[in-house]
């Protein structure tokens, strides 16, 4: 009876959603670097090619 209950419980348990980023093991600081670096690069590209 207990086994049956456990099986039912298992069936009802919804697995945690796997997302595109689920297995990401990147520190947030690295992401901050990518974001800030990307924006600085864009600014430099625009400035360099529009002011020359």
């Amino acid at each position: 009876m207990t086994e049956q209950k456990e099986t039912e419980e298992k069936e009802r348990t919804v697995p945690e959603k796997q997302t595109i980023y689920s297995n990401a093991k990147i520190p947030i600081k690295v992401l901050d670097g990518v974001i800030i670096g990307g924006i600085i690069l864009m600014i430099l590209v625009i400035l360099f090619f529009s002011l020359k």
Binding site: R12, V14, P15, K17, T19, I20, Y21, A24, I26, I28, L31, D32, V34, I35, I36, G38, I39, L41, M42, I43, V45, I46, F49, S50
Partner: protein, 357 residues
């Protein structure tokens, strides 16, 4: 209105309760999460200062028009991204439907008419036809994704190639021999590019109004229907939605079919807007649309996205490209900027996910 005020006041009182260190962290987070918008705002100001014509009425209407033509495809793809998927076939479906619409709506008596014996067809029939073609491609995408549990990337890559093959074959039919399809009927051009309202002497093309109608329709579908709720439920957690009694297969198929319908409509608009349709029509449109969705906050995590976000994303992307053209920046550089924008937008999306986790 009261609830918005209440929420705003709650936020302010929450902020006031923070310690000075937390307040610094709050602003740091805010700056990082909105860095792309801040960059784009600064870029607009910079471009407007360097070239004041950028913010002239004619330029603004040009940006609105260009954005409006890309809105339906972005709204379609946004649904697929909400389901944690994507759609790579979108651009080619736009190309195919644009060419079909152009071929059926060429003016009678045009020297290079694709089907010389065929009269110009009624616009309504052609709209329904391109919507049907888009819906069929979308249905095939959705069916393969839902029934065979295939990744949307692979399924839509396959349909992209199939649709491109069909497009190339279509362009060989009749008198065309692979040439661009032009010489469109005035009724078709007037229906799309004509303007019934003008502001300051600058006409607003009709397709801007169609795009607004499509936005309202999609907002209604996403927020006020069971289909919309199911879409977000499936995108948030497919297993949970399944257990809760949501018909996952039907929802996925419907989302992709609706996206296909949007591509068909985009094709119909683009057919007249471009005027000369070839196999290159619609090329890479899906990439711009995906970029606009990511900028607009439609998350690849799934189950997150708003219509207003997609609209803002499409506008911001277009403003940047028009602005770069105004600054006479090399068009090739636009690809670099586009790539960087997508990379930064994805990093922000991922950061939000990791912080929440």
């Amino acid at each position: 209105m009261n609830s918005i005020q209440k929420r705003f006041q709650e936020k302010i009182s929450e902020y006031k309760a923070l310690s000075s260190k937390d307040k610094k962290r709050f602003w740091g987070e805010w700056l990082i999460n909105n860095s792309l918008f801040i960059f784009i705002a600064l870029a607009i100001i910079f471009i407007a200062v360097r070239n004041p014509a950028f913010l002239k009425l004619s330029s603004i209407i040009n940006i609105i028009s260009l954005s409006a033509s890309n809105l339906p495809i972005a709204l379609g793809i946004a649904g697929c991204i909400v389901l944690t998927g994507t759609d790579l076939s979108a651009g080619r479906v736009v190309g195919l439907t644009a060419c079909i619409a152009a071929a059926l709506l060429q003016m009678t008596g045009y020297a290079n008419k694709m089907f010389p014996t065929l009269e110009t067809m009624p616009i309504v029939v052609v709209i329904l036809l391109v919507i049907l073609i888009g819906a069929i491609v979308g249905f095939v995408n959705g069916f393969c994704v839902a029934k065979f549990s295939l990744h949307p990337f692979i399924v839509t890559l396959a349909t992209q190639l199939i649709v491109y093959g069909l497009l190339l074959m279509f362009l060989q039919i009749g008198n065309n021999n692979g040439q661009s399809i032009s010489g469109l009927a005035d009724s078709y051009k007037g229906f799309i590019k004509g303007s019934s309202i003008s502001i300051g002497g600058v006409g607003i093309p009709n397709y801007v109004w169609y795009a607004i109608l499509i936005c309202i329709f999609m907002w209604f579908m996403w927020n006020k229907t069971t289909f919309g709720k199911n879409m977000f439920a499936v995108g948030s957690n497919q297993s949970a939605a399944d257990v809760s009694g949501v018909n996952v297969v039907k929802t996925i198929i419907l989302v992709f079919t609706l996206a296909g319908i949007m591509y068909g409509i985009t094709g119909f608009i683009e057919g007249a807007r471009i005027g000369s349709n070839s196999a290159a029509t619609g090329l890479n449109y899906e990439l711009d649309a995906i970029a606009a969705c990511v900028i607009g906050g439609v998350s690849f995590v799934g189950g997150i996205g708003k219509i207003r976000g997609v609209v803002i994303g499409v506008f911001l992307l277009r403003i940047i490209f028009v602005g770069l053209t105004f600054m006479s920046v090399d068009p090739n550089l636009q690809y670099i900027i586009k790539g960087l924008i997508i990379l930064v937008a994805c990093a922000i999306d991922m950061r939000k996910y990791l912080v929440k986790k």
